[in-house]
Symmetry: C2
Subunit: 108 residues, 2 copies
C-alpha cells in the first residue's frame, strides 16, 4: 500500500525550528541543501519547509560530517541506498504482480 506520507514526511517545519531541533546552524542546514543532501519545500513566499524525516536525516548528516566524511561522499552513499531501496521496491511489486496475475484481484 502506498505510504500515507503522514506526519513524518510532511514538510511543515521552518528553518528556525529545525535549527532548534537539530542544534545545527541555519548556515549548515542551507549548505547541506546546496550540496544536495536535503530537499526542503518552499512556502509561497519562499521560506524553506522541512519534515521530521528531514530533521532526522540532518542529524545523520551532521554525524557523518563530524566523522570527517565529505558531503560528496555522503551524497554518494545516499544515492546508493536510494538505489537499493528502489530495487527492493521493484522486486516487491513484481512479485505482487505475479501473484495478482495468477490468483487475481488482491489490490496492491
Amino acid at each position: 500500500m502506498g505510504n500515507d506520507l503522514s506526519y513524518k514526511d510532511k514538510k511543515v517545519i521552518t528553518i528556525g525550528v529545525v535549527r532548534d531541533l537539530t542544534g545545527l546552524s541555519e548556515r549548515q542546514i542551507r549548505y547541506y541543501e546546496e550540496r544536495k543532501l536535503i530537499f526542503p519545500e518552499r512556502t509561497a513566499g519562499g521560506s524553506r519547509k522541512y519534515s521530521f524525516s528531514d530533521v532526522e536525516l540532518l542529524m545523520k548528516i551532521a554525524n557523518k560530517i563530524e566523522d570527517g566524511i565529505q558531503t560528496h561522499e555522503i551524497r554518494k552513499e545516499m544515492i546508493r541506498e536510494q538505489k537499493k531501496q528502489n530495487q527492493d521496491e521493484m522486486r516487491r511489486k513484481m512479485i505482487q504482480g505475479q501473484l495478482n496475475a495468477q490468483f487475481g484481484l488482491r489490490k496492491n
Copy 2:
C-alpha cells in the same frame, strides 16, 4: 508506558503553515487560542508553534463553529472529554497498580 510525544504532538509548525494546512485565517486560529480551545507553544522570539494534533483539532473546531456551536460550548465539550479521558487513565493505572501489588514487578 508514557506516550512518546512523537511527531504528532510536537509543536513545530508556525501559524502560516497551519493556515495553509487548515484553510483557516490567522485571525481565526489566534481567536480560538484566545478562547482557550488551542494551546500553541512559542519560539524564543514569540512566534506560535503548533503540532499536527493541533492542526486536526483546529479543523474539528472549525466544523463545529460552522454548525453554529459557540466557542464556549466547544470548550465545555472539550473539558468534558478531557475529564473522561483522565478518569479512564486513572482507572487503568489503579488496576495496573493492583496487579503489580499482587503479582509484582511488571513495570507499567
